[in-house]
Amino acid sequence: MQIFPFLVVAWIVAVGLYGLVTSRDLIHQIVCLIVVQSSTYVLLLAVGYVTGGIAPYFYDISPHTTAVDPVVQALALTDVVVEAAVTALLLSFAIQAHKRFGTLDPHQLAEFKG
């Protein structure tokens, strides 16, 4: 089972990419992109996990307790923030695309050279 979390990561990437390729709707594609990106959270947390480790917070716990790697957790936080920023911008682009061309279907959008 040592590799199981990493298989989950690969699976999340794969389903997200499948959705991106087959989607006929820009909003749905943005959600698929979020799915792809969320695989990185699983990857980061899986890489930093220490068997039996606690969360790296020592408010009422001895600082010498075994804890998981805090660096990847900080990176996961950055990841979430960047995803929120990217999603917000992509959604506003989708709104403008719909305003201008009246459709959210990427196949139809490709026909308009805009």
């Binding site: 040592q2 990493f6 020592f58 403008q96 061309f101």
Partner: protein, 267 residues
């Protein structure tokens, strides 16, 4: 390219990608056997160096503080970029939030929903404030706190009080909050430089009790600035999206759904 060809091409590509993934994962040390030195070094030293017991926040606002400046400005740029992309185009105008079709039957916001969301708004903002100011002690920090504060303000919208929600986010206040949040972080860094210390050096006394509110020096200050900035950015982003529902193009009664007519005017 037909959709079918596209899917075949994708199948080949995804098979290759999965193979490479599995190959890469087979070289990892295995789940639960973290090998890297950095986490252990930081875990050993973070509390004695900063008196802050929330190690993830310590990394974000202290060891990786310079990175977090960039991270915060990504969100800042995203909110600003959204305002630009969703600016009012020529030929678009705001409509009143009241329904124009007077005899349309709309489901009313249910009483329990209104009560629960309005009751939640205050406590949510308070919880967000608490999270943003306790990064040095608990699993919290400015990013989480800011999002919770924004959620509290959004609860007013969910309760159906759209007009009250609009009054809660005047542009001047939001812009000022964004400026205070983003600027406060950078000014904290520059304040260290002014004392001949490195940028973002923790120059505030670290306190004596690990995990106390007064501990951690600049970590608490930076976390609070980030909280303000994130809350303002999210209210701005969500508000921009909600405002789009009120925009109408002049000359087309059905809005944007009919096609290209409005596009040219917007250019």
């Amino acid at each position: 390219m037909t959709p079918r060809q596209r899917l075949c091409l994708f199948a080949v590509a995804i098979a290759g990608l999965v193979a490479c993934y599995l190959w890469a994962f087979s070289g990892l040390p295995g789940f639960g056997r973290y090998p890297g030195p950095y986490g252990n070094v930081i875990l050993k030293n973070a509390i004695t160096q900063t008196n802050s017991t929330g190690v993830v926040s310590t990394i974000n606002f202290e060891y990786r503080g310079f990175d977090t400046v960039g991270e915060e400005f990504i969100l800042f740029a995203s909110a600003a970029g959204m305002s630009v992309v969703l600016r009012r185009l020529r030929g678009e105008h705001d409509t009143s939030p009241f329904d124009e079709a007077a005899n349309r039957q709309l489901p009313r916001t249910s009483g329990p929903l209104r009560i629960v969301t309005l009751l939640l708004a205050g406590p949510l903002v308070l919880l967000g404030w608490w999270l943003a100011t306790h990064a040095q002690a608990n699993p919290s920090g400015g990013f989480q706190g800011g999002v919770v504060i924004a959620t509290g303000i959004m609860a007013v919208y969910l309760s159906g009080e759209f007009l009250a929600f609009r009054r809660l986010r005047p542009a001047a206040v939001l812009d000022a909050a964004e400026a205070i949040g983003a600027g406060g972080f950078v000014l904290t860094g520059i304040a260290a430089v002014a004392q001949d210390l490195p940028f973002l050096y923790n120059f505030i006394p670290l306190g004596t009790v690990p995990g106390a509110v007064s501990s951690g020096g600049t970590i608490a200050l930076i976390s609070f600035c980030v909280g303000i900035e994130v809350a303002a950015a999210f209210v701005l982003i969500i508000g921009e999206l909600l405002d789009q529902t009120l925009l109408r193009s002049t000359g087309s009664s059905t809005g944007g759904s009919t096609g290209r007519g409005t596009g040219k005017a917007g250019r």
